[in-house]
């Protein structure tokens, strides 16, 4: 990422942080403890970013299957690692919030359960990669598995929490599938979503380059 764009991201996310506490109004429909509603500006975008990462991994996997370029396999694997990281962060922040709002860290709410299932699904992807030694076979199997995610992920992220009763507040998880909030809240939420997604692509780029360098150095040593 260009240094100028990186600083723009710093400014953008700093404004999101300030906006979440000083610009967006606290009371959101469906929250028992309105002060805790601010978590929506961080927890929800992290879950969205996790979803974007898993879909991006599927796209890179398709590209790998078409071109057999190891860079695409690496990009898919890194996307899934980062998707898991953002997913775990969303789950942990959600559990902390659930303890305040619902009195328990874990409630087997459909949303909590579905994100846990998707995290386990992608953890299995990493296990699969560890289990196959031959690089080409590993990349091919991993790509096909990541492609399955195109079916599994949208179902777990968007369908399951909306077809069953959820404890989650109405503004974000509802039958209409739309974000039902005041305009300032929506502005901060979507700005945060954009910031987190950009952060994902930046870290993804750095991690891919880092792995490429490590592989290059390992090949030189052999």
């Amino acid at each position: 990422m260009k240094t100028f764009l990186a600083w723009l991201l710093w400014l953008w996310m700093s404004l999101v942080i300030v906006g979440a506490f000083f610009y967006a109004p606290v009371v959101l429909k469906g929250f028992r403890t309105p002060g805790s509603s601010r978590i929506v500006f961080f927890h929800v975008p992290m879950a969205w970013t996790s979803f974007i990462a898993f879909i991006a991994a599927a796209v890179w996997s398709v590209r790998y299957l078409i071109r057999r370029d190891p860079r695409h396999d690496r990009a898919a694997a890194v996307a899934i690692q980062l998707g898991l990281l953002f997913g775990v962060l969303a789950t942990v922040t959600g559990a902390l919030w659930a303890n305040i709002e619902w009195g328990k860290f874990w409630n087997w709410d459909p949303r909590q359960t579905s994100i846990l299932a998707s995290l386990l699904f992608y953890a299995a992807y990493l296990a699969l990669r560890q289990a196959v030694e031959e690089p080409e076979k590993r990349a091919r199997l991993a790509a096909v598995y990541a492609l399955l995610g195109v079916v599994v992920t949208p179902f777990l992220f968007w369908v399951v929490p909306r077809i069953t009763f959820s404890l989650h507040p109405d503004p974000v998880v509802n039958q209409s599938g739309r974000v039902d909030m005041d305009v300032p809240n929506q502005q901060v939420l979507f700005a945060s979503g954009l910031g987190f997604a950009t952060l994902f692509f930046w870290i993804h780029n750095l991690q891919c380059r880092l792995q490429a360098l490590s592989e290059r150095r390992a090949a030189l040593k052999e």
């Binding site: 996310m13 700093s14 942080i17 930046w202 750095l206 380059r209 360098l213 290059r216 030189l220």
Partner: protein, 47 residues
Amino acid sequence: MVGVESTANPNTWIVAINLIIWTGLFLYLLRLGSKLRRLEKHPEGEP
């Protein structure tokens, strides 16, 4: 004697800590990016 009450908004501290954490992560990534650029140009051990 009149008690002295703090008028500072408690959110100010939360925002300040969040900004410090975010800036720290940002500077780390920025530094990692420039280090990677340097290594990509002149990888150690390469002829």
